[in-house]
Amino acid sequence: MRDLRSRTAHPWVRRVVIALFAVPVGFAATGAFGQPTSTLVAGGGGARLQVEVPDTLRGGLLWRARIAIRAELAMEHPRIVLGSGWVESMQLNTIEPAPESEAARGPRVVLSYPKLDPGDELVVYLQLQVNPTAFGVQDTSVELDDETEPIARIAHSTRVLP
């Protein structure tokens, strides 16, 4: 009897632990662990910038971002300026259409595209993969410039779960 006494609590301990398993499953089912996409919009400076980007990702995941620019006024030198998080903890596999040139602006990456006339739309797709060792909050902001003049900016950060 002495050996069996402590066994009475075991079923409840086990049930509580099993119930706790439902917590991460519930979070995952609602998309809290990635990778639902947010659509963010900014504009007002002669162009409309729209970005589709996930808020949360996990190591190793393949993901896609969509950046759409609609020019309201002519833009001689449209440039997309990506925050450092787009490349620091990611493998940037493809950019379609490819920019005319790429440059660095501090830790940020500048993608240059040809002239946009009023009413023109430029849609850029980026295919990326999260580095398996990456985690933390990454700066995935996007800025639209006409040469060096800021037109629109979307501040965004992506949480990378280990």
Partner: protein, 145 residues
Amino acid sequence: MDLVLRAVIVFFAIFLVTRVIGRRELSTMEPFDLILLIITGDLMQQAVTQSDYSLTGGLTVLATIALLTVALSYISFKVPKLRPLLDGEPLVLVQDGEIIERNLRRERITVDELLAEARQQQVASIDRIRFAVLETNGRISVIPA
């Protein structure tokens, strides 16, 4: 969301496969069973986690599979009508020294395999068996006459 969904689909796919291939394969480890086991594990891992190398993803899948296992076990315990579907039913292979050939064929068990099982349970011949039953876990219980 997709991770949980993929884990649920793969769980039921593997459950279906193990129910369809026959219970005998569950308890033996013949070369073909080994191949099935290795290939299933490798293919299903890719189907569930795909390119996901994260700890979060792995733990989520583990928790999902654990919950499904407990849920099915609970359903089987609470709903006796579903037990044959979830766990299968014992199958009598020998009754009063008479081999039931139809049941042996159904589970692809040879008389030699049956005799080997009987010998392992200290029974020398078929006519000394009162009952030989293929249990739901794939093992054969031999009750001597």
